[in-house]
């Protein structure tokens, strides 16, 4: 009959159809027949990351990893996170990394408003766990591409705060001499293949880097970050499809922070989740609590194993939230202030990690303050460096457009 409880069966039928073999799920003759491609529920108690599985065989739509991926309700208290089997010292370092991002963003924002950072900036405050959780699951040789919201990824990947801050200022001491600015931070020596001003474009570069990794037989994965808004550009799905087809070592991470500038997710995603879209392209898809640094780490670590094991790419929808406006001078007329407060109270990724470490005795009570204080020192030094760094030499403005000498004037 046409009833088909298993997506795997349906997928097999598809393959059989395409390949011209006997159909495994052939319906009885005589129409109408209605079949549905579906997946059975997974055992909820099986850990998401301990079992090895084939990617995108269509057997499941996507996984959901985390204690609670729903948006916090007004009366919610802080949601606990579990450290699992992780080395406490490692998680403590993740907290330090998240604190550095938080403080960097909070100190940089007023500098942008004051015009010290030309052209403003996009703050990632609130999204620290996605960047740190993901990058800490990678090897230094792995590749990361970022978006217009680039500071958390860049800091997590190891870019120096001082070099970033000077770059934001447009000073000579910036990681790219002031040429790139906050939209285009990059450092190829540490695998940071650029933050991109074009929505969805960073994922494309990660896809290409994954092609290179595969063709060169490198033990390397590429992670491409993009946002919920980026899940609407065609290039995103072209690259996801290409990665699935070519079984590339790519991890596509969608930071779903609910907003694209002032456009709410529900205005652009119809009845489904972003992970659901991805599942439709036949690659392994996961939805994870993006405010849980451990959950993000575990999902990405598993994705890395899958990719290097030949299991192909993984699509991760990380549900997160930005505390700042789209840019730091965004009027934010599109959301209530208490919405932000609720997320801070009930889901803050730093506080959640700190509480778990405290409970595990790996951080003294209130130890987060000390962590933040250390971050303040680092960021203060970075600002100091940026302030004192000279402006780039205007005579160099047209250098390095090409690798060879070229007449850039259009006059013989």
């Amino acid at each position: 009959n046409g009833g088909d409880p298993s997506g795997a069966q349906a997928a097999a039928a598809t393959a059989a159809w395409a390949a011209g073999g006997e159909a495994s799920a052939r319906a009885l003759s005589g129409r109408p027949t209605v079949t549905v491609v579906a997946a059975p529920p997974l055992d909820p108690d099986r850990p998401a990351w301990s079992e090895s599985r084939k990617p995108g065989r269509g057997r499941r739509r996507y996984e959901v990893v985390g204690a609670n991926l729903e948006r916090p309700a007004d009366d919610d208290e802080l949601l606990a996170l579990e450290l699992g089997a992780h080395d406490r010292a490692a998680v403590a370092e993740w907290l330090e990394a998240m604190a550095l991002i938080r403080v960097f963003e909070e100190r940089a924002a007023p500098l942008a408003r004051a015009g010290k950072i030309p052209g403003g900036m996009h703050s990632a405050a609130g999204q620290e766990a996605v960047a740190v959780g993901a990058v800490r699951a990678l090897k230094p040789t792995d590749i990361v591409t970022s978006t217009h919201r680039s500071h958390h990824h860049s800091l997590a990947k190891g870019l120096e705060p001082a070099g970033i801050m000077a770059e934001l200022y447009g000073k000579a001491g910036g990681v790219l001499g002031g040429r790139a600015g906050h939209l285009h931070l990059a450092d190829f020596s540490i695998g940071l293949f650029g933050s991109n001003g074009i929505v969805g474009a960073g994922l494309g570069i990660a896809t290409g880097a994954a092609v290179g990794a595969k063709l060169r037989g490198r033990d390397q994965v590429a992670v491409g970050f993009f946002g919920d808004g980026g899940a609407n550009t065609g290039r995103t799905w072209e690259n996801v499809n290409l990665a699935a087809m070519w079984e590339l070592p790519l991890i596509a991470i969608c930071e779903n922070n609910l907003y694209a500038v002032e456009t709410h997710l529900t205005a652009v995603v119809s009845n489904v989740t972003i992970a659901d879209r991805a599942a439709g392209f036949g690659l392994h898809a996961v939805q994870v609590d993006g405010q849980d640094v451990v959950a993000v780490h575990d999902v990405v670590a598993e994705a890395r194993e899958r990719a290097l094991g030949g299991g192909g790419p993984t699509f991760v929808e990380a549900r997160t939230y930005r505390y700042s406006g789209h840019t730091v001078d965004d009027p934010e007329t599109y959301r209530e202030a208490d919405e932000v407060e609720t997320w801070r109270r009930a889901r803050d990724p730093l506080v959640r990690a700190a509480r778990a470490l405290e409970a595990a005795g790996a951080l003294e009570q209130g130890g987060l303050d000390a962590v933040l204080a250390r971050a303040e020192e680092t960021v203060a030094a970075a600002i100091e460096f940026a302030e004192s760094s000279p402006w780039p030499d205007p005579a160099t403005a047209a250098d390095g457009v090409y690798g060879i000498e070229v007449n850039l004037e259009g006059k013989p």
Binding site: E167, G178, R179, V199, N232, Y334
Partner: protein, 332 residues
Amino acid sequence: MSSRTMTLSQAFAEGVAEEMERDPAVFVVGTDLFIRGGHWAQVKGLGEKFGRERIRDAPISEAAMVSAGVGAALNGMRPIVDLNFVDFVFGAMDEVVNQAAKIRYMWDVPVPLVIRGTAGVAFGAAQHNNQVEAWFAHMPGLFVATPSTPWDAKGLIKSALRGSDPVVFLMHKMQTGLRGEAGGPDDLVPYGRAAIRRSGADVTIVGYSIMASKALEAARRLEAEGIDAEVIDLRTVFPLDLETVVASVRKTGRLVVAGESTRIGGIASEVAAAIQEACFDDLDAPIERVGALHAPIPHSPALFKALIPDVADVERAARTALYREQPTEVPA
């Protein structure tokens, strides 16, 4: 100043609002329009006035925005697709070039579509400061508006919304807040008609968008040196009003053409090529092209200001055309 004084963005929005009232077929598609009124206030206030259906926020899908505009235009509507920064047009280039631009020629039907983008050089670094007016001027089937005043922004958008051809409408980042007088409901500005901003006898300076303004400022400064420059604002880079330039060059015998985009392959080269042919016997000096060096735009103001032409570069070019100064590397 007159009560009709407003910013270029306000003038644009006023023009759009007037046409939306006149013609129910006019609507706007883009991002961050309904609440914010666009990132340059280009449709500020229109959301409350016309509602979500006609001030229509879309997902970040530039290709779909433009194809939605093209298809709607073919089905009785007059869409404005607002691309925010014009740099985002690259994701919709097929829809602009192979669809909007060619459909009238292929299928003999009008395509009343406006594609608005904020252009020109300012903050934002390499990917947000592309100069594409020369691209669209080279592509048959498109008109390209490059207003430099509130009056022209309003008059040109109104003409576009009453016309029947696709228009790429470029507003310069540094000019959306520029204040000036705007016309009334019936003050339309035609396409392909340049404006003589200042008449002079010694040298003709042609510009468009922000370089029209810089040319006017240069002319004021040159006056102090006893140089009487005529300033022409092209207003649209397609169609190009070459006749007005020819008439001026017949009078002055000298020509400077200024564009902000990279000189190589820019609009200034097209004007120079056409005028050297039409005015060969009238020209007393080579035509000077003012433009940027062939490089992307960097983030640091210290750098990008060195790449793009400023008022002094226009002055220098005018002096060169008058053999008052040796050519220097432009921009200095």
